[in-house]
């Protein structure tokens, strides 16, 4: 149960940062925290109490209680997607700083009505 609370804490901290802060780097860090929270949530759904890793390391090992392997596969994909978005966001931040001279999202409002 504590894992669910921890995952939600991270998700809400991430959403709060993205909605409220004005510095672009802080917003990007908030996106990263949001992704981490969601990955933790996904893994904790597959958790089985007193279960071991789903690897049959010795021949003849029986599957007594093993953790669900599917959320782990989903999280592998989600982590890579998070890294890809982070890389693209950081490159855009570099270019934005070169054009505008500031990273404050309130001042970068050239596209008006």
């Amino acid at each position: 149960m504590i894992y669910y609370l921890g995952a939600f804490g991270l998700i809400f901290i991430g959403l709060y940062i993205v909605l409220v802060k004005h510095n672009l780097i802080k917003v990007i860090i908030g996106l990263s925290i949001l992704d981490t929270g969601i990955n933790l949530f996904l893994i904790s759904i597959g958790f089985v109490k007193k279960g071991t890793a789903p690897i049959f390391s010795r021949p003849g090992l029986k599957a007594i209680r093993m953790v669900d392997p599917v959320p782990q596969a989903l999280v592998l994909t989600a982590i890579v997607i998070g890294v890809a978005v982070l890389a693209l966001a950081l490159s855009l931040a570099i270019r934005l700083y070169q054009h505008y001279g500031t990273l404050n999202l309130r001042k970068i409002k050239e596209q008006k009505w």
């Binding site: 409220v20 958790f47 049959f56 599917v70 592998l76 997607i81 490159s91």
Partner: protein
């Protein structure tokens, strides 16, 4: 004002999610798909690491999509950062002797470790993405330690494309041989040996090289930006 609205919004979302999560019990095996994979995974795919067999064989299409997303990120980063007009040549200060020698000493060991992880992906925890990230960190060490060296861009592009193309071609070979894309058509061998698991080690080796060269290419683009 904005803070109050966002806290209110988050409160509503929190309430909704907690309401829904209370119906999902914690710590009990609840998924029939997971149980199927654990029971039949070794027989059907030949890999003893069930997470690997799920990632590469049962849900291999998602892995193909994931490899594509990393490819898109590397391309997008290259496209955005390539429009710089003036290249300011900054003087690169060489690192101290201990740093340089240490980095050059550690570089092949880290590469070896990364390669070990992605070759044994179907037997132990690990796999293509993990091994590729370790290889990229070896290249980052060289960038930080011996600062004059750079990776050849043609080499990274070549390995990247070949890696992705091998994945698609192996899938298409499965389509031609047995009528299903990404079917495991090579002999599965005895579990727990290195040469087991059919197409799984081949795909993971291709992914390992691809991810390693891609992340190294991203690091190279970002380092060029800072001079």
């Amino acid at each position: 004002m904005r803070r109050i609205i966002s806290i209110l919004l988050l409160g509503i979302v929190a309430l909704g999610i907690i309401l829904s999560i209370s119906k999902i019990p914690f710590g009990i095996p609840k998924s029939k798909v997971g149980k199927f994979y654990i029971d039949n995974g070794v027989k059907e795919t030949g890999a003893t690491n069930i997470v690997t067999s799920v990632v590469v064989n049962y849900r291999g299409f998602d892995t193909l999509g994931e490899v594509t997303i990393l490819f898109i990120a590397a391309l997008g980063l290259g496209a955005v950062l390539s429009t710089r007009k003036n290249k300011v040549e900054r003087k690169i200060e060489p690192a101290s002797l201990i740093l340089r020698t240490g980095c050059r000493f550690l570089f092949p060991l880290i590469l070896l470790f990364g390669t070990y992880i992605f070759i044994h992906g179907h037997l132990t925890p690990g796999g293509g993405f993990q091994g590729g990230a370790i290889i990229a960190s070896a290249f980052l060490l060289i960038y930080l330690g011996c600062r004059e060296r750079r990776i050849s861009e043609r080499g990274t592009k070549l390995i990247e494309s070949l890696g992705g193309l091998i994945f698609v071609v192996v899938g298409l070979a499965g389509l031609v041989i047995s009528g299903y894309f990404l079917r495991n058509f090579l002999p599965k061998g005895i579990p727990n040996l290195l040469f087991s698991g059919g197409i799984i080690p081949i795909i993971y080796i291709a992914i390992g090289f691809k991810v390693g060269s891609e992340l190294a290419g991203i690091i190279d683009n970002l380092m060029e930006e800072s001079g």
